[in-house]
Structures are given as C-alpha cells and as structure tokens.
C-alpha cells in the first residue's frame, strides 16, 4: 500500500483535531470545576482557580491549532510522541498547580510543595517545545 502526502496530512489533521477537541473539553472542565467549587466556598474566590482554564486553552488549544495550520507534518516527526508526553504532562501539571493554589487560597492556607508542581510543569513544557523544535528541524 502506498501512502500519499494527502493521506498523511489527513491523518495528521485528524490526530490534531482529536488533540484540540481534548483540550477544549479539558478547558470546559476547568471552567465547570471552578463554578462548582465556588458554590461551596461561601463566596470566596481565587484568581488561580478561576483562571486555570487558560493553561489548556492557550497552552493546549492554541498551540495545536497553530501546529495544525502551520506544521501539520510535525505529527509524523520522530520525536513527536515525546513532545506530546512531555508537553501534555506540563500543561496538566500547571493546571493542577493552579487548581491547588486556588483551593489553598480559598481555604486561607498554603503549601510549600506547590512550587515543585510549577517548576516541574514548566520544565516539561520547555522540554516538550524543545523536542518539537528538534522534530521539526529533523523532519
């Protein structure tokens, strides 16, 4: 069987659409989670929790829309899976860190461990983007 360029692009588009839809769903989940949590927090709110949806929205939806439109061939790159693993892990880690910061702020407390989530999250995002860049150059 011969795979043509159009077939590869179609498969890449489908794969990226799936990823974009996943991040849209995750963004919606973050917004709903914030609203539900607000119902039980006696009117106390936290910017960290209210804005946590920006991580999957900007870091997820926006990035994969850009890849889909500018470099769909990245999906076939050698280290694309590694990029996905690292980058997605970074986004979920930062989103959870933001949610935890919100929970602690609403409760009026703090945790010395939160910073490790943030460091770990950004490190994986940077590693992921680096891997993506390498993949694009090697393609």
């Amino acid at each position: 069987m011969t795979l043509y360029t159009s077939d590869i692009n179609k498969a890449a588009t489908q794969q990226l659409n799936k990823k974009i839809n996943s991040y849209i769903a995750f963004t919606a989940f973050c917004i709903v989670f914030d609203r539900i949590y607000a119902l039980f927090s006696h009117g106390v709110s936290s910017a960290s929790m209210s804005l946590m949806f920006l991580y999957p929205l900007i870091g997820g939806v926006l990035l994969f829309v850009l890849i889909k439109n500018l470099a769909p061939h990245a999906c076939g790159a050698k280290y694309y899976r590694l990029f996905l693993n690292s980058y997605n892990s970074g986004i979920i880690t930062l989103t959870i860190a933001s949610a935890l910061a919100g929970v602690f702020a609403i409760a009026g407390t703090s945790s010395p461990y939160l910073i490790y989530f943030i460091i770990c999250g950004w490190a994986m995002i940077i590693l992921g983007l680096f891997t993506l860049a390498v993949s694009l150059f090697q393609f």
Binding site: H42, R81, S89, I96, I106, G108, T109, S110
Partner: protein
C-alpha cells in the same frame, strides 16, 4: 534509547504520569489539611520573658456562676445575646484583675500544623471559664505565633493584605496592632509580650473604625459567622461571636462587626478566624450555633483558642 522507545508507545507515559501526579496531589492535600505535624517553639529568650506560669495568681474561689455570667475575686464575665443585622450576636464583657487570666491554648496542648480539636474540648482541657476560637494559626505556615509569653513561630505574614496586621497584647494587658512585615519579632519578645494573634483585619484602632463596607477576609464578600476580640479599657475586654450562614442568622460583614464593637466602647478590636470556626464556649456549654460544612450546626475543629481562666 530503550527508555524512549518504551515511552513512545501510546498511553504508557500518560498512565505512569497520571499515577505519579495523583499520588503527589494526594500527598500535598493530606500534608496541608490532614497530617498532624507537631513543631517546637522558637527559642528567643528575653531577660523578662513571661513563663506562662500563673502560680502567682490566686485560685478560682467562691465564684458566682449563672447561665450568662461569672464572677469571682479576679474575673468578671457577662454574656449578652443580641440581634443585630438579622444575626444573633454573643457579646462577652470581661474584666480581669491581671492579664494572665486572658490565655491562649493549643489543641492537644501541642503546637503544630493540622493539630486540631473543637473549641469546647480545648477549653475543657484547660479548665477554661470562657473561650472563643483563636486565629487558626495551624492552617498557615506564616504569621507570628506568640502565646502566653512564648514564641512558637517567627515567620512574618508578608502577604500584604489585612492579614499582615497582628494583634499584640502586652504584659499590662493593653492591645496594639503591628504590621508583621515591618516588625522584628525579637523586639516584641524583649518587650515581654503576652499574646500575639495573626489574622485580622483590625476592626477598630485608636477608637476609630478601620474597616469599610468592602473589607473582607481574603476575597469573600459574604456575611459570615465572626469571632473578634476587643479592648474597652485597662483589663476590660469583650469577645464577640456571631452566628451566620443559617436561616436564622445571615452573619455579619466586617463593618457590621466593627460597628457593634464600636458601640460597646472598644478602642481597639481585631477580627479572629470566623466562618465555621466561630465558637464561643462558656462554663461547659457552646453558646452560639457554630456551622460546619455549610449550614450544619456542629463545632469545627480548630488549632487554638483564646480563653479566660486560671
């Protein structure tokens, strides 16, 4: 490279990382909210440091006790229940002969994070006459903790909002407010401070109300159950606790709380931990209707109390 190949298979990394992340989140939540962590006091001894020992004070004797009052040679307490701002408010008027009768106590007599008990249990453990919940120091890693003349935490609250204001009770029994971020704790220890509470905000200072209609703890804008402590004159204080979050009582804003204390003649008043923590206990009974988990009437466990006793 074999490791890279292993993780290049779909979902392997996702599953492993999800497990690691779940465990990490669980640990952080347990560490923050559940796991008791006893700590030790800070050793900043001053020449005139209070020992917290009340052996020089006379014992409770010939006390006259009713449902709403207590009186003996050293302590006089009267509790009024009033309705203000669609809320039931409990006001304890207290006069003591010595500031050493205004004490603080920790849950399980242990300083640390997540070491908690109900106000009534802590009060009973310390043979209190009257008690209210304190500043719930154990829920935070910052904010000076100095109780009964002993320094337990020297980490200033530098969050920059009203929480940076700490209430200081000196060895003469006079209240004052300090900005923790601008305070050298060693100076306070050297001044022989008796109590220090870190919550806020300050409700009244120098006889002037210092909160507005928009003031709140954190970002809450609701009326809430409240706990506050104020000074009227030398060795004359009031504890104020309000109900809230129930159909019978909506709760107070900080301004309403300040107005009530202002009307009672307070020259300085300070807000302590409120919400579900707000509890006033007198002579073996919880006086107010503390709420836990919303509108359930039950006592919340807290890390500390302020009490009147021997």
């Amino acid at each position: 490279m074999s490791m890279i190949k292993f993780f290049q298979k779909p979902y392997r990394w996702a599953i492993i990382y999800a497990i690691i992340l779940s465990l990490s989140v669980t640990f952080v939540l347990l560490n923050t909210f559940v796991i008791p962590q006893a700590e030790t006091k800070i050793d900043l001894t001053s020449d005139t440091q209070n020992s917290g020992n009340s052996s020089n004070l006379s014992d409770q004797s010939d006390a006259t006790i009713t449902d709403t009052s207590y009186k003996d040679d050293n302590i006089q307490i009267t509790i009024d229940t009033v309705r203000e701002y669609d809320t039931t408010v409990y006001i304890a008027d207290i006069q003591v002969l010595d500031i050493k009768y205004l004490k603080a106590a920790f849950a399980s007599s242990t300083y640390g994070r997540n070491i908690k008990d109900t106000t009534s249990n802590i009060a009973e453990d310390n043979n209190a006459i009257l008690a209210i919940n304190g500043d719930y120091y154990g829920f935070r890693d910052y904010g000076f903790v100095l109780r009964n003349g002993v320094l337990y935490r020297d980490t200033a609250d530098t969050t920059g909002d009203e929480g940076s204001e700490a209430l200081v009770i000196d060895s003469d029994g006079d209240f004052s407010i300090v900005d923790e971020s601008q305070t050298d704790i060693q100076d306070l220890v050297d001044q022989n401070i008796w109590q220090m509470f870190s919550f806020g905000p300050t409700l009244i200072n120098n006889g002037e109300i210092s909160v507005t209609a928009s003031s709140e703890v954190g970002k809450s804008m609701n009326s809430n159950p409240r706990t506050a402590i104020g000074q009227i004159s030398a060795l004359h204080y009031i504890f104020v606790v309000s109900d809230g979050r129930t159909s019978a009582s909506s709760g107070l804003t900080l301004l309403e709380l300040a107005l009530i204390m202002y009307d009672k003649g307070c020259t300085l008043a300070y807000n302590l931990d409120g919400g579900g923590s707000s509890t006033i206990w007198f002579n073996g009974e919880v006086v107010n209707n503390p709420t836990t988990n919303g509108d359930t009437i039950s006592e919340r466990s807290v890390s500390d109390i302020v009490y009147i006793g021997y």
